[in-house]
């Protein structure tokens, strides 16, 4: 890694790592009577190990100037591998918590194996670990290819990638110890949140600096989405995590918001995390890898514009549909519902634009499992956004809210859309990134595709059934005007679906393991000797790096 760094960057890396060592030590000392101390030691240990690694490489020769005539892909390569590792961890945790719901005694009376601590490992593991690393890795790749400019420096992408994964480790280890600020998808405590802000701002500036140096007159759609993702996630993350720590030696903090304002802030965050993390970012991915793989032009530039501005404008208002029939004032609920319903139009325009792009390439979809992953992702995106707008209607929500239908909806999006587009992009990216001729086994990609599809279908159908049954049982009254079913009756009715769901999740996990194996085997294949020039994969012209 340090071989790619100039002397100035090596000094910078050492300064950053030294600061982190000191910060870790300070956290460990200030939090010695608190769980914060354990996190201090984790930060200290990781930073110290990285510092030693850096010092050992400090005297390597400086990188040759020729490197500036190529794209900088090393962070992308590492990011792709981290994506798969976090995917297996997050989906493994997901399978475990799914099994816990069917067989609750599987906690074995161990506190850190309890459902409440494992569940955020699943959600953060797949959203931030798997999804986040995939977004960082692909965005750096797409950014360079669509601007024909090399990343402005070597230090900042590594800082973002390593810093982001440090955040993920702090988050996951905190959950196991019982550390949470109990905001869904925003569980990590104040110090982890502050660290993520630093990382995120650097990420944003990589984007801006590279775009400023672009050699293409226009900014491609994928970059609109990636930028919306980075910018809005920063805003959401900062506002929702505003909190006052009990002390600098304590992991615990109290939110700035209380009561219904807290709920509204949380779901403004929560829904836009779905919108800008899990939708906008992955739309960026789709807009690059799908037309690239299909070899077809984007169906309509005009539709791209309508969808992009529709999605970015309307999602911002939709969060209150998570709080229908609550203490939230009725007028906020109405607005949330109205915007959510209109949101269907740009969502379907995006899905339609993707699927119509495949016109003229459907034979490739039939033959190529990689492209099929992406085509299926667009279909699931269409299904899920329809379902989302439908569930945002107040009357529908009165049945679906608090039931497994919500869980089914989320996983139609997460498995069907987010994971499928990620795996499709990843398979199409890995050979060229690692300079291998092809993916190790196209057959295994095919196996993965069918595992993923059948897993998703089993999962989603199980949860739809379970959710609707649950919702109906909760609201069925007999002729005396009292409830027909007790709560336990509904649990008994859900049990078979919970087993089916765990099975569907297991299939999906097996698919992710197949992908990990396939990628490792691809990397172990001999590299092709072909130079990037021969593949035409080069920036527009050599550019000088800042500080040289």
């Amino acid at each position: 890694m340090l071989a790619d760094f100039t002397r100035g960057e090596r000094t910078g890396a050492l300064v950053i790592l030294g600061t982190m060592v000191v910060l870790g030590l300070a956290m460990a000392i200030a939090g010695r009577h608190d769980l914060l101390g354990i996190h201090g030691w984790i930060v200290f240990g990781i930073s110290l190990a990285l510092t030693f690694g850096a010092i050992r490489q400090l005297d390597l020769p400086e990188p040759s100037p020729e490197r500036l005539s190529e794209y900088y892909d090393a962070p992308t390569r590492t990011g792709l591998i981290l994506t798969l590792i976090w995917g297996v961890v997050g989906m493994g945790a997901g399978f475990w918590v799914a099994a816990l719901l069917a067989w609750p005694e599987m906690t074995f009376d161990v506190s850190w194996l309890s459902w409440g601590r494992l569940r955020p490992i699943h959600t953060s593991g797949v959203i931030f670990g798997f999804g986040g690393n995939a977004l960082i890795a692909t965005s750096l790749h797409v950014l360079q290819r669509t601007t024909r400019a090399r990343l402005p420096d070597a230090l900042s992408p590594w800082f973002v990638l390593i810093g982001y994964n440090l955040f993920c480790i702090i988050a996951a280890s905190g959950y196991l110890m019982g550390l949470t600020q109990s905001k869904e998808y925003a569980e990590p405590e104040w110090y982890a949140d502050i660290w993520l802000v630093v990382v995120w701002v650097v990420y944003f500036f990589i984007y801006m600096r590279t775009l400023a140096r672009r050699k293409e007159p226009h900014i491609y759609v994928a970059n609109w989405y990636y930028m919306a993702f980075i910018l809005v996630v920063a805003i959401l993350h900062i506002v929702n995590n505003l909190a006052v720590p009990v002390s600098f030696g304590s992991a615990k903090s109290y939110s700035l918001f209380a009561g219904v304002q807290d709920a509204m802030t949380q779901w403004w965050y929560g829904h836009n995390a779905v919108a800008f993390f899990l939708t906008a970012g992955f739309l960026g991915m789709m807009y690059y890898y799908l037309p690239k793989r299909a070899g077809r032009p984007i169906f309509s530039y005009r539709m791209s514009i309508i969808s992009f501005w529709g999605i970015t404008f309307m999602y911002m208002w939709a969060g209150s549909h998570h709080l229908h029939y609550t203490a939230l004032p009725h007028w906020v609920q109405t607005l949330g519902m109205a915007f959510s319903v209109v949101l269907l139009v740009p969502s379907w325009a995006s899905a339609g634009n993707a699927l119509l792009t495949l016109n003229g390439a459907w034979h490739k979809v039939r033959d190529d499992a990689v492209l099929r992953f992406m085509a299926l992702a667009a279909i699931f995106y269409g299904i899920t956004t329809f379902e989302g707008s439908f569930m945002a209607i107040r009357a529908v929500n009165s049945l679906s809210h608090y039931t497994d239908w919500t869980v089914g909806h989320v996983h139609a999006g997460a498995l069907g859309w987010v994971a499928m587009i990620t795996f499709g992009s990843l398979y199409s990216l890995v050979p060229s990134m690692f300079k291998r001729e092809r993916i190790y086994s196209q057959k295994l990609v095919e196996v993965h595709f069918w595992l993923a599809l059948s897993g998703t279908v089993i999962y989603v159908f199980a949860m739809w059934n379970s959710g609707v049954i649950q919702g109906l049982m909760w609201r069925t009254y007999d002729e005396t005007g009292t409830l027909s079913y007790s709560f336990i009756d509904s649990l008994v009715a859900m049990h078979p679906y919970y087993i089916a769901r765990a099975f569907g999740g297991l299939l999906f996990l097996l698919g992710a393991l197949t992908a990990l194996f396939n990628v490792i085997m691809t990397i172990r294949m001999p590299a092709i000797g072909m130079a990037p020039e021969a593949r035409g994969d080069l920036p527009a012209e050599p550019v000088m790096q800042a500080g040289e």
Binding site: R148, I298, S300, H330, V345, T480, L483, D489
Partner: protein
């Protein structure tokens, strides 16, 4: 500016932009999409006109339909209460023994009782009311505080060792820990209790000695015949029902450490009609159980 080309497959012109081989068609937005967008936007707009929606400085637009979720829920609750009043008023006020003989009321109890019982009582007493360790079997075992309908309803209302001012109070003393009985004596009593509930009978001298101990220490609450006393809420020790298991070791623990189980008071949480329905429901379960 790159050249615009015509895509052979679709016949559309490209925009002339190209990014690493990716081009875009300049296909006009399909009419269907415009129609869809206009329809949905109109729906959204109309909906916000009908319902409470846009905020202002001093409040919000109330909507033409005058909908209000607080009023709506009050109205629904009032309607549901009116529907239930047919039987709920009778349950709340009439004599329970008479209601027990009333087929119409008992049909309501049998229909509404199971969900009410399982949602509120089953966590301790189990879904079929047969109890769990620490929580008595109220479907079959003799009831510690009496089993006429008014007494059962009162037990539910005030609870046992609960935080209700009129709660029923009962405590089994810690005879071992508080050094009222020696270990040997506790063992004698445990053997004695095993023998009078499940058998077999003890040798006569052993039985007499233990019976002496029992009369001196236990009979005050459990009665001289060990059949329990509803006045003190002490259970019958001669049958095979045990709140805390009837094996010798558990009985020794009970005598050594004492016991003081808790049942929450349901007044304030359940309505009078619901409390009295539960009393009738549990007693009905008991007659149905052979």
């Amino acid at each position: 500016m790159a050249l615009k080309e015509r895509d052979e497959f679709s016949g559309q012109l490209t925009t002339g932009h190209e990014w690493n081989g990716i081009k875009e068609l300049n296909t006009p937005v399909p009419k269907l999409l415009w129609a869809f967008l206009i329809t949905m936007a109109l729906f959204g707009l109309v909906w916000t006109v009908l319902m409470p929606s846009w905020p202002g400085i001093n409040g919000y637009f109330r909507g033409l339909l005058g909908a209000d979720q607080h009023q709506a829920v009050q109205q629904t609750l009032a309607e549901a209460n009116a529907e239930r009043a047919v039987w709920a008023d009778r349950l709340a006020t009439e004599d329970l023994a008479a209601l027990q003989a009333d087929e119409a009321i008992m049909n309501v109890v049998r229909s509404a009782g199971p969900a009410l019982f399982v949602d509120n009582c089953a966590a301790c007493h189990g879904p079929s009311a047969t109890g769990n360790v620490g929580y008595p079997n109220i479907a079959e075992a003799p009831m510690m505080w009496g089993s006429d309908p008014d007494t059962v309803a009162e037990t539910i209302r005030v609870g046992i060792n609960a935080n209700h001012p009129e709660t029923r109070f009962a405590q089994m003393l810690a005879f071992g820990k508080d050094q009222m009985l020696a270990g040997e004596e506790i063992s004698q009593l445990a053997d004695y209790l095993v023998s009078i509930s499940a058998g077999p009978a003890l040798p006569e001298d052993q039985r007499l000695a233990a019976n002496d101990l029992f009369l001196n220490n236990c009979a005050g609450c459990h009665g001289e015949d060990a059949a329990g006393m509803v006045e003190s809420g002490a259970p019958n020790l001669t049958d095979t029902f045990w709140t805390y298991a009837g094996d010798r070791s558990t009985i020794r623990q009970s005598i050594y450490n004492g016991r003081q189980g808790t049942m929450p008071a349901w007044e304030g949480r359940l309505s009078t009609a619901q409390i009295r329905m539960l009393a009738l429901y549990v007693l009905d379960l008991r007659t149905a159980t052979p």
